[in-house]
Every structure is written in structure tokens, then in C-alpha cells.
Amino acid sequence: MLAESLALTAALFVIGVIGVLIHRNAIIIFMCVELMLTAVNLTFVAFSRFYGTAGQVFVVFVMTVSAAEAAVGLAIIIAIFRHRQTIDLKDINLLKG
């Protein structure tokens, strides 16, 4: 089932990417990022059948990181929203050089 898993991973990942590209809502973009991370997890798990349980350990790490990321990211969104009353990426251009 490795090939199928990998194909599914690729599809989910790409869907995540497309989501990031087409959305302007910061929260949805975040969700898309989560989807991409999860897709990668599937790869780890699929490969762990052949390469041992280390892959699953990495999944744990990835989850931790994504949890941390979600926490901080959402906190930032809240802070921005407080500041500018929007989470539309079009209106958030503070990084302008």
C-alpha cells in the first residue's frame, strides 16, 4: 500500500498548497498548512513499515511542531486582528520593504 499512500500524500499536500495560494483568509491558510503537515505525516507512517518505528516517532515531533505553530500563529492572527480589524492578507502588508 506504499504507492497508494504516497499518492494520497502528494494529493493532500498539493491540495494544501493550492489552498494556501487561493485563499486570503489567514485562518484558512493556516488550516491548509496543517493539512500539508498531516499529509507529510502519512508518508512517515507509510514508510515506517519498511524502515522501522523511527518514522512514527517523527510523526510525533511533527504534531508537536504543528501544535506549537498553530498556537503561535493563531495568537499572531488575534493580535493582528486586534490591531487592524481584519485577517485578510491583502490588507496585511507590514512586511513591505
Binding site: 495560494l21 492578507l89 496585511i92 502588508n93 513591505k96
Partner: protein
């Protein structure tokens, strides 16, 4: 101490060692000491002189009641370099002793050395090595002096005539504020000139060669606050530099091919270059380029007329008697090279002849008394080059010596005239030109001594026997004729012309130039001293003969002019009239140039005495004809004054404007060089292409790329995401397609 040890080591068995000749180093050192003393006095006087600005202001406006410095350009209100122009320089007394004093001492020493030399009769040059100047590998250049008959002759002329001119200057420059500076330059000049003639190798000669150029530059521009003078000095230096370039290249070629640069070594190895080879011809031609610069021959003669901007004694010493003859000296010195190359020798002769006639024609139409003499000098130098060019080195040197006498006399005489004229115009506060002959006339009444002496010199330069000029000029023409009859020159071809034909043409040109010389010199004398006075009635009262300190040297030079010919009485004359011992100079110089002369004259047929006498007769007739022609055709009493003069037209105008050579060079070389340098090289290439395009262009490119990059930074995170994804796509694509 260094000098003494070196001296004793270097000279062992030479007949002159142990004699007074060992003191030869003192010859140039004396004038050098004079330069240092006078120079320091000049600066000291300037530095500690009165610095009260109001006083300076006042003097500036009053133009200095007795400002003799304005002599050579009356009415331009020129003044010296110092603020207290009214009084003589505070150190003038000391300078008057030191300046001429060192020269007189030098001359006495030279006489002593000459005495020793005459009794020792050395066959080989006496070489004194003092220290190693540029020792690099196989290049050995010593600071060494070489004393032989040729340099001895030059030393006597330089110190002798030099001392006379120094004494004259004491009177002439008496009231100039730059008095110490003047003498320091003049002493420095003599130092360099002595180095030039004493140098035992080409580089040491070159030190003197450029050094005299420097002094010429400084002295031409002595009254530097007048732009014309400064320009003239600069022009002299730069034109000389072009010539020096030739001399340098000649030295390089000598070193590259025979590995030595001292005269003894080169003369020993000269044959290795191959007689008549292209190499030796090239070397000689480059060397001759140097001579044309220093000795004002075509094409580099243009600086000498302008050089008349300097004080008149300077013109006498540097631009007539000594420095300008350095080129002749160099060719005589390098006779071992020139005699190997008939082509180069013929070139020298041709250039000399063409210069002689060319300058003589210009001399016909000059109004400035010093300009006439300047062109006359160029013309006479042409004669000398004809002499050394045809391998008659003795004749060339002989003419050099006699020319030093009579031309110095003429220049100093003109100095005396100008001195008088200037004083006269100064008294009446007139702005007339004190050097223009159209403002003179009838001066013989006021300047009788000067007039007589200048007439003697004029007759000498015109070639009237038995004056010195006749002897030397005739000898050159006779040599040309003899060489044409048969010699290595006659059998060579020059640019396709057979040598003998060429020599006959040169002889003809020489005769023609002699005629013109007689004409323009007589013209100068007539307009200056005869006819009615055009000076103006008020001024005439002020005209007076120069003081004894100026006329004294004139008289000495007059005597030398008359009897200078006895130095080398030709056989033809002694055969008819037993005036004295014959060909003294030829015997004297034989150890130096004898071999070279023999080499060039190889295969010469003896010219019959009758032919020689006929030639002499022809020359005298031509000279007399010239004088008579000028006397009959020129009407001094009808000459308008300068301010009433109408400009000449047609060919006369062209001649009066010196064939527009200066203007031509200015238009075709000088101005285009400046224009190209400024508008193209500097503005376009340097500022535009290299700095603007490449250097600042690359900076602008970097800045531009940075600007483009900064435009990508919209600050919109969405766009960043797009960029990121596209980047990932590209990179993964690169992996995929690998």
C-alpha cells in the same frame, strides 16, 4: 675625500695625471658653488625682505623708477619677482663678486689645465672616475669626467666667453630685483655646460644636456610675470625634450647593442655595429634628433627665436655661444659613430644646409634686433652642422668657436643698444618697443664703441677676410667642396640622390646663405646705427654709451673676433700670406676626431690649390656682394617708425611671419592634442566610458537590481507564498529533470 681616493686610483699612467688636470672636477664645482651661494642669497633676500604690504602696493604702482628689468620688453610694465623693486637687491654687492668671480676662477683653472695639456700632448683622453653613478648588472655608468682636446676647447670657450658675459651682466642687470637669482641661474648654467662637455659617457653628458636646457628654461622665463616669457621658456624646454627623447633612444640602442655607454668604450666597439649598417644610421639619426632640439635645427628650431624673451646676456651666452652649440659638440664627440654612417652624416649636412638658408631668409624680414640675431644664430648653427655633417669636424668646431666670439659680441652689442634705448624710453615714460629697429636709427652717434665693435662682428659673420668668421665659414664650404670631389659621403646615396650631387647642392646652398647673411646683417646694422634717428627727439638726449663694465667685455670679444681666425689658418692662406702657424686647431683636435675625419674622407682627391683659391675668392665676392646689395637697396632714411609701419603682404608677409610655422604647429599639433585630451580622453574615455559606464555603471547596476528586488517586497504575505511555491516548483523541477 671620496673624490681624492677615486682620482688617485683611476689615473695611473696618463701623462696628465699628477698635473693640474687632476683638479678638473673643480671646474664645474666652482660655478655650482656660485649657484648655491647666489641662490641662497636670492631666497634669503626674498624671505627677510620688507613685507610691509602697503609699501609693496606703492612700489607695484610706481613700477619702479629705475626698473631695468623691463629692458627687454619695454612698456609692458614688467617687473621682477620681488617687492622692493626700487632699490638694488640687498645682497647685490656680494653677488657681483661671487657670480662672475667663480667664472673667472674657473677660466683661470681652465687655462692652467690647457697649459698642462699643451705641454703633455696626450694621445688618449684623461679620464677621472669619481664614483659609480648607476651600477646595475652589466650597466656601468660612472660619474666620470673626460678631459681631452675637444672638451678642453669647449671648456675654454665656455669659461672664457662665459666670464666675459658674466662681467657684462653685472652692468646690464645692475638694478634688477632678481639680481642674485639671475646670477645663480647663470652659474648653474655654466656648471651644467661644463658637465656636458666634461662627461665621460653619454648619461653624464645627458645630465649636462638637460641641465643646460633647464637653465635655459629658467633664464628665458626670468621675468616670469609676463606670460609671453613664461611661455617661451616652457616652449624651449618642451621642444628640447623632444630632442632629448632622440638622444635617450640613441643611448638605449647603444647599450642594447654594444653594452657600453662611455665614449672610450663606444668608440672602441663602434665598428661592431657595422660600418654603414642600418643600425648605426638609426642610432646616429636619433642622436641627431637630440642635436636638432638643442641646437635649434629644422624641425626643432622653433624655440630659439622665442628664447629671446630672456635677458640679452643670456641670449649671448646660452642661445648663441655655448648651449646651442652643444649639438655640434655632440656630433664631434660622437664622430666615431657618425663617420660610420654616410647616410646619417649626409642627413646632418642636409638639415644643416636647409636650416642655414631657411633661417637666413626669415632673418631678412625681422624687425626685432634680437630676433634677427636669433635667426642668424640658427643659420650659423646650420653651417656648423654642415661642417660636422660632411665629416669636417675640425671646421665645424672652428666655426663654433669663432661664432661664439662674434655672436656673443653681436648679442652683447645689441644688449648695449637695448640698454640705451630702454633707458631713453624709460625716462620719457614711453611705451615704444626698445628692441624694434624701426624705432632706432642713427645710434652710431650715441653708441660709437658699440657701433664699431658690432660692425667688426658683422663683417666677420658675413665672411670678410681676415676676420674669424671668414676663416671658419670658408673652411666649412671648402670641406664640403672637397668631400664632393671624393669621399665615403660622395659615393653614398641619400634618398636616392648621389652623395656628390647632394654635396654640390649643399655647397651652393651654403654660398647662397652666406649672401643672405651678409644682406640681413648689413640691414640690421644700417637700420640700427645709420640713417636718421627714429627714436624721438626727447629720447635722444638720454641715449648714451654703456658703462665700462659692459663695453669692456665687448672690446675683448671684438679682439677675439678679429684674431679668432688665427686658431686655424688654412694652408691655402698661409701659402699665400704667411700670417702665422697653420691649422693649429686641426692639430689640437687630431687625437679626438682625426680617425673619424680620415674615415669619412677616405678616397678623397686632393683639391688643387688653384681651385681652392678660386673658391675662396668666390666666397669673398659673394659676401661683399651681399653687403653692397644691402647698402644700395635699403634706405634707412625712409623707414617708418614701428607705430607707423604697414604690415607686409604676399611672400614678404609670409617670411615676416616666419612662414607661419609656429601657427601651423599650434593648429596641427598643440591644439588638437589638448582638444583630444580634454574632450575625448578625459571627458569621454575617462569620465564617460571607464568611470561612468564601467565603474559607476556597475554600481548603478547593483543598485538597480536591489531596487527591483525591493519592489518584490510588497509586504503582502500572499504574494510571498506564491513566490515561495513557485520557487519550490522550480527547485523540485530541477531535481526531477536532473
Amino acid at each position: 675625500m671620496l673624490l681624492q681616493t677615486a682620482v688617485s686610483a683611476a689615473s695611473q699612467a696618463h701623462p696628465l695625471s699628477g698635473t693640474i688636470a687632476e683638479w678638473v672636477w673643480l671646474l664645474p664645482i666652482l660655478p655650482l658653488a656660485g649657484f648655491v651661494i647666489n641662490g641662497l642669497l636670492s631666497l634669503a633676500g626674498a624671505h627677510f625682505g620688507p613685507t610691509d604690504p602697503t609699501a609693496a602696493e606703492h612700489e607695484h604702482h610706481s613700477e619702479g623708477a629705475a626698473d631695468a628689468s623691463a629692458i627687454s620688453h619695454a612698456g609692458h610694465g614688467a617687473d621682477g619677482d620681488d617687492q622692493h623693486a626700487v632699490k638694488r637687491h640687498r645682497w647685490a654687492g656680494v653677488v657681483s663678486v661671487v657670480g662672475p668671480g667663480v667664472l673667472i676662477l674657473s677660466f683661470l683653472l681652465a687655462l692652467g689645465i690647457w697649459q698642462a695639456m699643451a705641454s703633455a700632448q696626450p694621445a688618449a683622453p684623461f679620464i677621472q672616475r669619481y664614483f659609480s653613478w648607476m651600477p646595475v648588472g652589466d650597466l656601468h655608468i660612472d660619474a666620470a669626467f673626460q678631459l681631452d682636446q675637444l672638451s678642453m676647447l669647449m671648456i675654454l670657450v665656455i669659461t672664457g666667453v662665459g666670464a666675459l658675459i658674466h662681467v657684462f651682466s653685472v652692468g646690464y642687470m645692475r638694478d634688477d630685483p632678481g639680481y642674485p637669482r639671475y646670477f645663480s641661474y647663470l652659474n648653474l648654467f655654466v656648471f651644467f655646460m661644463l658637465v656636458l662637455v666634461l662627461g665621460a659617457n653619454y648619461p653624464v653628458l645627458f645630465v649636462g644636456w638637460e641641465g643646460v636646457g633647464l637653465c635655459s628654461y629658467l633664464l628665458i622665463g626670468f621675468w616670469f610675470n609676463d606670460k609671453a616669457n613664461a611661455d617661451a621658456g616652457k616652449k624651449a624646454f618642451i621642444v628640447n625634450r623632444i630632442g632629448d627623447f632622440g638622444l635617450l633612444v640613441a643611448m638605449f640602442m647603444l647599450f642594447a647593442n654594444i653594452g657600453v655607454l662611455d665614449f672610450i668604450g663606444v668608440s672602441a666597439k663602434a665598428l661592431d655595429l657595422g660600418a654603414g649598417s642600418a643600425l648605426v644610421t638609426t642610432i646616429c639619426l636619433f642622436m641627431f634628433l637630440g642635436c636638432t632640439g638643442k641646437s635649434a635645427q629644422i624641425p626643432l628650431y622653433i624655440w630659439l627665436p622665442d628664447a629671446m624673451a630672456g635677458p640679452t646676456p643670456v641670449s649671448a651666452l646660452i642661445h648663441a655661444a655655448t648651449m646651442v652649440t652643444a649639438g655640434v659638440y655632440l656630433i664631434a664627440r660622437s664622430s666615431f659613430l657618425f663617420s660610420l654612417s654616410p647616410v646619417a652624416s649626409l642627413t646632418v649636412a642636409v638639415v644643416g644646409a636647409v636650416t642655414a638658408i631657411f633661417a637666413a631668409t626669415i632673418g631678412l624680414k625681422q624687425w626685432d634686433i634680437k630676433k634677427v640675431l636669433a635667426y642668424s644664430t640658427i643659420s650659423q648653427l646650420g653651417y656648423m652642422f654642415v661642417g660636422v655633417g660632411v665629416g669636417a669636424y675640425v671646421s665645424g668646431m672652428f666655426h663654433l668657436v669663432t661664432h661664439a666670439f662674434f655672436k656673443a659680441l653681436l648679442f652683447l652689442g645689441s644688449g648695449s643698444v637695448i640698454h640705451a634705448m630702454h633707458a631713453a624710453y624709460h625716462r620719457t615714460h614711453s611705451n615704444e618697443d626698445a628692441q624694434d629697429m624701426r624705432n632706432m636709427g642713427g645710434l652710431r652717434r650715441y653708441l660709437p664703441v658699440t657701433c664699431v665693435l658690432m660692425w667688426i662682428a658683422t663683417l666677420a659673420i658675413s665672411g670678410i677676410p681676415p676676420l674669424s668668421g671668414f676663416m671658419s665659414k670658408d673652411e666649412i664650404l671648402g670641406s664640403v667642396f672637397a668631400r664632393a670631389q671624393g669621399s665615403t659621403l660622395a659615393s653614398a646615396t641619400w634618398l636616392g640622390i648621389p652623395g656628390s650631387t647632394l654635396l654640390y647642392i649643399i655647397y651652393a646652398i651654403g654660398l647662397a646663405a652666406a649672401f643672405l647673411t651678409a644682406v640681413y646683417m648689413t640691414r640690421m646694422m644700417l637700420y640700427t646705427f645709420h640713417g636718421p634717428a627714429r627714436t624721438g627727439t626727447e629720447e635722444e638726449e638720454a641715449l648714451h654709451e654703456a658703462p665700462w663694465i659692459m663695453t669692456g667685455p665687448l672690446v675683448v670679444l671684438g679682439i677675439l673676433t678679429v684674431f679668432g681666425g688665427w686658431l686655424n689658418l688654412p694652408e691655402v692662406i698661409t701659402g699665400i700670406i704667411p700670417l702665422g702657424p697653420r691649422e693649429l686647431l686641426a692639430h689640437w683636435l687630431d687625437p679626438v676626431v682625426g680617425d673619424a675625419t680620415t674615415r669619412i674622407a677616405a678616397g678623397a682627391a686632393q683639391v688643387p690649390a688653384s681651385t681652392e683659391q678660386a673658391l675662396i675668392g668666390a666666397a669673398v665676392v659673394i659676401a661683399v656682394a651681399g653687403i653692397v646689395f644691402a647698402m644700395t637697396r635699403l634706405k634707412p632714411d625712409r623707414l617708418p617708425r614701428k607705430r607707423d609701419a604697414v604690415p607686409e603682404h604676399g611672400f614678404e608677409g609670409v617670411v615676416a611671419h616666419k612662414y607661419y610655422v609656429d601657427e601651423g604647429i599650434e593648429r596641427t599639433i598643440v591644439e588638437p592634442t589638448y582638444a583630444v585630451s580634454r574632450s575625448f580622453l578625459w571627458r569621454v574615455i575617462d569620465n564617460g566610458l571607464i568611470d561612468g559606464f564601467f565603474v559607476n555603471g556597475s554600481a548603478a547596476l547593483a543598485r538597480g537590481l536591489g531596487w527591483v528586488g525591493s519592489r518584490l517586497q510588497t509586504g503582502n504575505v500572499g504574494i510571498y507564498a506564491w513566490v515561495l511555491v513557485v520557487g519550490v516548483l522550480v527547485m523540485l523541477g530541477a531535481f526531477t529533470l536532473r
